[in-house]
């Protein structure tokens, strides 16, 4: 498979493909495309299930108290479900009243989630901490099992995957919730796994004699050729159940599956087309730096 592809030396093409996609994602983020859910900024979310009449957005808005109706975001879920997102609702009583009003208007069962803005901020900080902690620990682990250069290359691939996932979220405009962060962390685990399988081969195939750029690049190519079939199969095997979740799961599962779908696909790409070229380039740069050193001295 891919017998004629030069993975180590074709980096200009691979980096540009990613670059274009990442740029599109960053533009979408800059234009405010990230749709942060109530988990991160606080607010209330009412979910109507099993409504026995069709109601339109106007009717739902009428059921809300006037001070909330203007800011409410209403989406339809399937045949007989609705989701209404509002700023934080005053108190228990008001929340109960809205629940009753919605249930009366639609004839369905109303579930509620409320997050205070202060807690939203806490969740946001925790999520960021978790991602940073994961990245650091993974780098330490790879440095320990392999070498620092491998860890650096894996890190580049991981940043690529995170940005790609967040970028796609901004482009599509799906709601970013706590579950999205969980998905991103999971993607990190997956992507590193993919990268490690390749690095493990490179380590196994690298001759013990000293570094030589051409030989090392050939080793990278040979290693990738040996495991690329596995990489593709693994990606397919992971993406099949995830696609099932995306299609058949309800909102939470579907959002989760979307993040995983983008992230795991990006991770499979990055472990082959980003991590390995970065490893090659870094090794070459290090070798160049070491060679130059004695001359300068």
């Amino acid at each position: 498979m891919f017998e004629n592809v030069d993975f180590a030396r074709g980096w200009k093409l691979y980096f540009s493909i990613s670059g274009v996609l990442l740029f599109a994602g960053l533009v979408a983020i800059a234009l405010g495309g990230l749709n942060l859910g109530i988990d991160f900024q606080g607010g209330s979310q009412f979910t109507v299930a099993n409504a026995d009449r069709q109601v339109n957005e106007e009717q739902i808005r009428d059921a809300l108290p006037p001070e909330l109706a203007g800011d409410a975001v209403i989406t339809t879920l399937g045949q007989n479900g609705y989701e209404i997102r509002t700023p934080v609702v005053g108190g228990q009583e008001e929340q109960g009243q809205i629940q009753d009003a919605l249930s009366e208007a639609s004839g369905g069962e109303v579930s509620v989630t409320t997050v205070s803005p202060a807690f939203g901020e806490q969740v946001r900080n925790q999520a960021l901490q978790a991602v940073v902690a994961a990245l650091l620990i993974i780098v330490v682990y790879i440095s320990f099992r392999f070498q620092f250069s491998f860890a650096l290359a894996a890190m580049a691939a991981l940043m690529h995957d995170i940005l790609m996932t967040v970028g796609f979220y901004a482009i599509v405009g799906r709601e970013v919730s706590l579950v999205t962060v969980v998905a991103i962390l999971t993607v990190l685990g997956y992507s590193v796994y993919d990268t490690i399988i390749i690095f493990d081969r490179i380590r196994e195939n690298t001759p013990t004699v000293g570094y030589n750029r051409r030989r090392f690049d050939d080793t990278i190519n040979r290693s990738i050729h040996q495991v690329i079939r596995r990489s593709i199969y693994t990606t397919i095997f992971s993406l099949i159940p995830i696609t099932a979740l995306l299609i058949f799961g309800e909102t939470t599962l579907s959002d989760f599956a979307f993040a995983l779908l983008v992230g795991i696909a990006a991770g499979a790409y990055s472990s082959i087309f980003i991590a390995s070229p970065v490893l090659s380039l870094y090794k070459a740069w290090r070798a160049g730096a070491i060679r130059r050193e004695p001359q300068r001295a």
């Binding site: 030069d6 925790q126 620990i137 099949i240």
Partner: protein
């Protein structure tokens, strides 16, 4: 690789494990009860409360623990099934109650500090028969009137409100009272378990009677005495305000000095205090005040219908994904695929068994974790099988190819799974609630998948090889063409 006997022992062990799992899933309890479902799947209320000191000081671990215990007592007194109250961090408590009908009320009970206060009412104002949506505006109105009253002194006094259903049954009567900023007497004066729901012997109306301690009774006597003296001087009736936190519960008129026994009543309604309100009062007063203020920072109420539909769609999606993975393994790896499929089925069943035995509460993200772990489990097989195929292409016999495939594939699987475990642990450490369910199930799935891929698949394959079943390369999904292709000396094609 072990001998035939070893493989048989491993498989016998697996059968025993499957039996144990089946016992716990199906026989010990009906299958519908054996698996613990999270609130997002069965419906219920989950609330996260943050503790804070009124003065802004730091909340101690003991105080939050004490608050959690009190909250648990309060819920128990409500007779709600299986509440789960946990201290989450230094100042947070998570309360989870499955399937209840009136979540707002429950959350109000668990969250109220329930500091009982007795106040001398300094001045009062009331507006009767207010429709529900005008209560807020009316309170503002009353507040403005009272702030102009002579008795109001900024910083020294405060205004408390009482809402009661109107006697005529139309709307709500809103009362505002000026009282001293700090209660004249607090709940400390209450005898242990001193609050009881009772019926007034003369009127037959429902009241909550409060029995005070001896010291409390003495103080109450002094307080009411001085109130009566003030009333005699001003000509206004003497009102004793009884408030829970910042809500006035009732403000009865005092006509003679009171002693150890007083009561909270509502004379405007034919039945007296509404039943649920009386029970709430009794509950929070008897469990005592929380040592710190609790605010609800996040709350989720899931209806049973929504929970059930989430569960159904989640299970259906996982099932579809699982079956597709099984079929694809079969298609790619033929005979090896059959073995992998059997191993995956065993894996799924054992995972279910572990979920029931430990027990792990299955949440919506947890289902996602299980689905992902199916991918991980399938992948462990893929890594090893690809190695085996590679060795076969190099001309090894199936038996030695299987041996080599396991030896070389295991290292990669171990490294890869360790990273997944790392992420699972981070998720567990830095998150709460349903996300933890995901982390736990993912970690469990990863560890179990290594076990099935490395131990069970290997034993199955070993047995197949020993039975003299000829595993031709084609049976293992290796084509003739690819075999000859790789046997030739490898020449890397160089592009550029």
């Amino acid at each position: 690789m072990g001998s035939r006997r070893n493989n048989l022992i491993v498989l016998a062990l697996v059968v025993v494990l499957l039996g144990v799992a089946a016992y716990f899933i199906f026989i010990k309890e009906p299958v519908t009860q054996s698996t613990q479902l999270g609130l997002d799947l069965q419906g219920g209320v989950s609330a996260q409360l943050q503790g804070s000191q009124s003065g802004g000081g730091k909340v101690t671990r003991e105080e939050i623990q004490q608050a959690a215990d009190l909250i648990r007592q309060r819920i128990d007194r409500l007779g709600v099934a299986e509440p789960d109250v946990r201290v989450q961090s230094d100042d947070q408590i998570v309360v989870q109650i499955p399937g209840i009908e009136n979540p707002e009320e429950v959350i109000r009970i668990i969250g109220s500090t329930a500091q009982l206060g007795f106040y001398q009412v300094l001045a009062a104002d009331a507006q009767p028969n207010i429709p529900e949506d005008e209560i807020g505006a009316t309170k503002k109105d009353i507040e403005e009137t009272l702030q102009d009253d002579d008795a109001f002194e900024k910083g020294q006094t405060k205004i408390l409100f009482e809402e009661t259903p109107s006697v005529q049954g139309r709307g709500t009567d809103v009362n505002g009272y000026i009282v001293n900023k700090t209660p004249d007497m607090t709940g400390d004066a209450l005898q242990q378990n001193g609050a009881t729901v009772e019926f007034n012997q003369q009127t037959g109306k429902r009241i909550v009677s409060l029995e005070l301690t001896a010291e409390g009774g003495r103080q109450m006597g002094e307080l009411t005495q001085s109130m009566l003296a003030d009333a005699a001087a001003s000509g206004e009736p003497a009102l004793l305000g009884i408030a829970l936190d910042q809500d006035m519960q009732s403000a009865p008129q005092v006509t003679e000095p009171l002693g150890q026994n007083i009561s909270i009543s509502n004379d405007s309604l034919p039945e007296g205090l509404p039943e649920d309100e009386a029970t709430q009062l009794e509950t929070v007063l008897n469990t005592g005040a929380l040592p710190v203020n609790m605010t609800v920072i996040s709350e989720t109420t899931v209806g049973p219908t929504l929970g059930l539909s989430s569960l159904k769609s989640g299970l259906f999606a996982s099932l579809v994904g699982f079956v597709l993975v099984l079929l694809l393994l079969l298609f790619i790896y033929r005979a090896l695929g059959v073995v992998a499929d059997i191993a995956l089925l065993i894996y799924a069943f054992l995972l279910w068994g572990l979920i029931v035995i430990i027990p792990v509460t299955v949440t919506l993200p947890g289902i996602a974790g299980v689905v992902l772990s199916v991918g991980v489990a399938a992948d462990a097989n893929v890594v090893i099988f690809e190695r085996i195929k590679e060795e076969i292409r190099r001309g090894k016999t199936p038996r030695s190819a299987i041996q080599a495939g396991y030896d070389k594939g295991f290292r990669a699987i171990l490294d890869g799974n360790v990273t997944t475990l790392i992420t699972a642990f981070i998720l567990f450490a830095l998150s709460s609630g349903s996300v933890r369910g995901f982390a736990v199930l993912l970690a469990l799935g990863v560890v179990l998948s290594m076990f099935t891929a490395v131990v069970i698949t290997r034993a199955l394959l070993g047995l197949l090889g020993d039975r003299g079943i000829q595993l031709s390369p084609a049976l293992m999904g290796v084509s003739k063409a690819s075999m000859t292709a790789t046997r030739q000396p490898q020449q890397q094609a160089r592009v550029k």
